[in-house]
Amino acid sequence: MSSKTILQKLAVLAHAAKYDASCASSGTVKRDSVGSKGIGSTEGMGICHSYAPDGRCISLLKILLTNFCVYDCRFCINRASSNVERARFSPQEVVTLTLDFYKRNYIEGLFLSSGIIRSEDYTMEQLVEVARILREEHRFQGYIHLKTIAGADPALVALAGLYADRLSTNVELPTEAGLESFAPEKKPATIRKTMASVRVGAEDAMEAAKGRLIGKAKPPRFAPAGQSTQMIVGADAARDDDILATADNLYSGYHLRRVYYSAYSPIPDASSALPPVRPPLMREHRLYQADWLLRFYGFARSEIMEGASGGMLDLSIDPKLAWALMKRDIFPVDINRAPRELLLRVPGLGTRAVDRIVAVRRTGKLRLGDLAKLTASVKKVLPFIVTLDWRPGKLTDSADLRARFAPPAEQLALAL
C-alpha cells in the first residue's frame, strides 16, 4: 500500500468527518496567548471563519484521526463494511495541520474524532495525545473539541477533559431500538456511562476548585465548554416526540451544553438498510427550534407536543406558533403588563426582544411603533398581543390564522 500525502489524507479524513453537525467554538473560558507567548485565544463567543455552500459554518478544523473503524454502524460512512477509501493521520500530522491553519486565521481550533481502531482505549489515547502535544508542546490556546469514544476508560476521559474545551459522545440514534438495528455493536448504556463520566469529571473539578486554598494555583478546568452530543434524524423510525424525550433526558442527566440534530444525509456507499432520500432539513430545523423552547423558553416537552400531531412537529410553521394556535385562550397578551414568562410564549418574540421589552417598559408604555424597533417580526406578533394602540380583536380567534403564517400550499411533486 503506497502511503498517502497529507493532502490526500486531508481530503479523505475531512470528507469522513462532515456528517458530524457540531462545529461550535463557543462557550468556553477566555484565554489568550499573551501570558504563554504561544499561539491562540478563545473569547467566549465562537467565530465562524468560513461557510460552506451547504450553509454550515466552518469554525474548526474538523477531521478524523482515522476512518478505519471496527464498528459497523449502518448509517456511518466509515463503518467496517463500507468500501470507502481509508487513511490515517499520525498525531503529529494533525498538530502541524492545526497550527498551520490556525496561524493563518482559517480556524478557531480543532474538532477531532476518530474511527475506532484496535480498542476504544487505544483510540481515545491517540485523540488525547494530539491535544496534549498541542497544549503542552506548542502552548496552543485555541479551541479543542475531542470526541470521547464510548466505552473508553474513565481515566482517559478525565485526561481528555484537562486538555479539551469540549467533549462529546454521540448517541447516534434517538431510540434504543434504532441503535440496536442500525448500530448493533454500540450499546446505549455504554454511551450514557461515558457521558456520566464526563459530568462526574466536571463536577469533581468544580469541587476541587471550591476547596482550594487562597493563593494556591488554580486547579485545571475540566472541559469548560461542557459536553455535547449528536443524534441522526430521519434514518430510523423515531418520531420527534421520541427524539425530544431523549434530548430532555440527556440534558437533565449529563448536563449537556447542546444536543445536535443531524438530518440523515445520504452517504456514498450506503448500506441497503437506509433511505436514499434527501436529508429532512426542515425537520432538523424544527427540532432545533423545539430544543430552544425546552432550554430557553420554559416549555415542557409535553407542551411543545400539544402543537404537534402524531408525535411529529408541524413542518410548515414553527413549534411555538403551532403551540400558540392551540392555546388561543391565553392570548392576546398585554405587552405592557404581562410577566416575562408569558411574553416568552408569544410567537415572534425571542428572548432578546423580551428582555428589551421588559427593560424599556420601565421608562414608559409601548406602542406598536415602539415594538417595531425592538423586534423584527411585528407582523407575526400582531394576532397575539395588545399594546396601547393595538388590539387584535377577532384576529386572535380567526379560523384562518394558521393559513396566514403557513407557506402557500405547493403542488406535490409526483413520483414517476
Binding site: I6, L7, L10, A11, V12, A14, H15, A17, K18, Y19, S33, V34, K37, G38, I39, S41, E43, H49, S50, Y51, A52, P53, D54, G55, R56, I58, K62, V70, A80, S81, S82, N83, D100, F101, N105, R139, E176, P188, A189, R192, K193, M195, R199, D248, N249, Y251, S252, G253, P266, P268, D269, A270, S271, P279, V360, R362, T363, G364, G369, K373
Partner: protein, 471 residues
C-alpha cells in the same frame, strides 16, 4: 474640524470642550479634514467649564460608532452626548430615534469587527530565528482596524504579523503593536503554501446533499469573497453537487467489505450472559444488562449491591439516585452522606455491611438541568426483586435493615407501613431477622429543625439496635 476620521480620542477632546462650553448641537458643524476648511474658519467659541459625566455605556458605544464611515457620525454622536448629559435614562429608551440610530450603527460596527476577526487571512512571509511572520490584506466596511488589532494581538502573540487595510495598517513585531498608513493589496503576497490544504479541506467538508446557498451568503456576503482563498471553489463545488448526489443515489447499495467479519465475533462475546450467577460479581455484570422493565432505557446504569459477600448485615435502600446512577455505586449521593453519618453514630462500619437497593435502576422525571426522583411502582419493585433475591441468596445475612417502604416491599413482597413494622424485630423465612426503618432521604426533606433532629435520633437508634442484634 477633525483631522483623522475614526479617531475617538480626537472627537472626544473636541466634544468634551463643546459640552463644557454649553454649545448646543445645532450650533456645531463637524467636518473631516478632507472636506476642507469652512468659509468662516473653525474657531468655535469654546470655553472650558466643569467636566460632564456620561454613562460609560455611551462612551464605549461612541468609541466604536466613531469608526463608521457616514460623515454625519461625529455630529449625531455629539447630539447624543448633549442629550444624555441632560436626560438621565436616555440610553434605556431604545425607542427614541437617536438611541435607535446609535444602537443600530453600533451593531453595524460590531458586525464589521466580527467579520474582520473571522475573514482576515494571513499569508506567510518567512521565518527568522524561529519566529514566523505573516501579513494580511483586508478591506473592512468601516475604519475598524484600531478596534480589531488587540484581538489579533491576544491571539497571535507568538508570531509577527501585519494587517494592511486601505485606511491604515497594524503591525505586531517584537511584541509591540504599532499603526501606520493605509496600503494596497500588492504589499501582501498573493498566495500561501498551505492554501491548497485549506481549499482541499473546504471542498471535503461540504456536503453536496444539503446545498443552502442563501444561508451561506447571509453570513459570508460576496463582498468578502475576494479576500478568501476558498471562495474561488464555491462555484465549482455548487456546479458539481447535483451530479455527486445523483451518483450516490445510483450506487446506493454496495457489497459489504469483508473486513466486517473479524469484529462480529467480539460483539458476540460481549453479549454472552453468565447463566449461573454464583458470585456477586456475576450478578453485578448480569444486572448491568437487565431489560426486565423499561427503567433501563433512561438510567445510565444498573447499580448492583456493594460489600463483602460474608457481610452479616444487609442494608437495603429504595433505588439509586442521581449520583448513584452516574457513579454506579449505591449510597454515594446526599442520602448516602446522611446514612454514612448515622452509621458512624450507631458505630456500624460501612465497609462490613452489604449495601444495596430494592430497585437497581434510577427512576426520574427530567426537569431542565435536573432529574427529579420518582418512587418506583410496586410492579417495578416486584420485577426487580429477582435481583435482590440473588444478592440475598449469595450474602445470606443474619440481619436485613430495610430503609423506607420500597425496600420493605422488596424484601417482604407486601406493602406494609413502616410505622407498623418499626421498633420490633421480625423474622423472615429461613430465620433472617428484619429491622425496618425510614429511608435517610426522608430526613433531608424535613423542613422543621426540631422534628428532623427527633427523626434522625430515632433512625440512629434503629441502626444501633441492628448492630446489637447482629452481634
Amino acid at each position: 474640524m477633525l483631522s483623522t476620521p475614526g479617531d475617538f480620542a480626537e472627537w472626544r477632546g473636541v466634544a468634551r470642550a463643546l459640552l463644557a462650553g454649553g454649545v448646543a448641537p445645532e450650533d456645531v458643524s463637524w467636518r473631516g479634514a478632507e472636506e476642507g476648511a469652512s468659509l468662516f474658519g473653525d474657531q468655535a467659541p469654546v470655553s472650558s467649564g466643569a467636566a460632564v459625566s456620561l454613562p460609560r455605556e455611551l462612551l464605549t458605544m461612541a468609541d466604536r460608532v466613531i469608526c463608521h464611515r457616514d460623515p454625519q457620525v461625529p455630529a449625531r454622536l455629539y447630539r447624543l452626548v448633549w442629550r444624555a448629559a441632560r436626560e438621565r435614562q436616555l440610553l434605556a429608551r431604545t425607542t427614541d430615534a437617536d438611541v435607535d440610530w446609535l444602537r443600530k450603527t453600533d451593531k453595524a460596527i460590531r458586525r464589521d469587527v466580527h467579520k474582520m476577526h473571522a475573514f482576515v487571512r494571513f499569508r506567510r512571509l518567512g521565518e527568522e530565528e524561529g519566529r514566523e511572520s505573516f501579513a494580511a490584506w483586508f478591506e473592512p466596511d468601516h475604519r475598524i482596524l484600531r478596534l480589531t488589532a488587540p484581538f489579533f494581538q491576544r491571539r497571535f502573540y507568538g508570531m509577527d504579523w501585519a494587517i494592511v487595510t486601505p485606511d491604515a495598517r497594524a503591525i505586531w513585531e517584537d511584541e509591540e503593536l504599532s499603526y501606520g498608513p493605509g496600503g494596497t493589496r500588492d504589499e501582501v503576497p498573493d498566495s500561501d503554501v498551505v492554501e491548497d490544504q485549506w481549499r482541499t479541506y473546504y471542498g471535503a467538508i461540504f456536503n453536496p446533499a444539503r446545498v443552502k446557498i442563501d444561508a451561506m451568503r447571509a453570513e459570508m456576503p460576496k463582498k468578502y469573497w475576494k479576500n478568501l482563498p476558498e471562495a474561488q471553489d464555491i462555484a465549482p463545488l455548487l456546479a458539481g453537487a447535483g451530479a455527486r448526489v445523483e451518483r450516490m443515489r445510483e450506487m446506493a447499495v454496495s457489497a459489504a467489505n469483508p473486513r466486517t467479519e473479524k469484529w462480529r465475533t467480539r460483539v458476540a462475546d460481549d453479549l454472552l450472559l453468565d447463566d449461573d450467577l454464583t458470585s456477586l460479581d456475576a450478578v453485578a455484570r448480569a444486572v448491568g444488562q437487565c431489560t426486565r422493565c423499561p427503567l433501563h432505557c433512561n438510567a445510565t446504569q444498573a447499580v448492583a449491591g456493594e460489600g463483602p459477600a460474608a457481610a452479616r448485615i444487609m442494608v437495603i435502600g429504595e433505588q439509586p439516585g442521581d449520583q448513584e446512577d452516574l457513579q454506579g455505586r449505591p449510597f454515594v449521593g446526599p442520602a448516602g452522606q446522611v446514612l454514612n453519618e448515622a452509621l458512624g453514630e450507631a458505630r456500624l462500619d460501612r465497609r462490613r455491611l452489604f449495601l444495596t437497593n430494592a430497585v437497581k435502576h434510577f427512576k426520574f422525571e427530567p426537569r431542565g438541568k435536573r432529574r427529579l426522583h420518582q418512587n418506583p411502582t410496586a410492579g417495578e419493585i416486584d420485577i426487580c426483586r429477582w435481583w435482590l433475591d440473588k444478592e440475598r441468596a449469595l450474602v445470606q445475612p443474619d440481619l436485613i435493615v430495610t430503609l423506607g417502604a420500597s425496600a420493605l416491599r422488596g424484601v417482604t413482597g407486601k406493602s406494609a407501613s413502616i410505622k407498623s413494622m418499626r421498633g420490633a424485630v421480625h423474622e423472615l423465612a429461613g430465620g433472617t431477622k428484619l429491622v425496618a426503618t425510614i429511608h435517610p432521604s426522608f430526613l433531608l426533606r424535613l423542613p422543621d429543625r426540631e422534628r428532623a433532629d427527633e427523626e434522625r435520633a430515632a433512625f440512629v437508634a434503629d441502626l444501633a439496635c441492628a448492630r446489637k442484634l447482629a452481634a
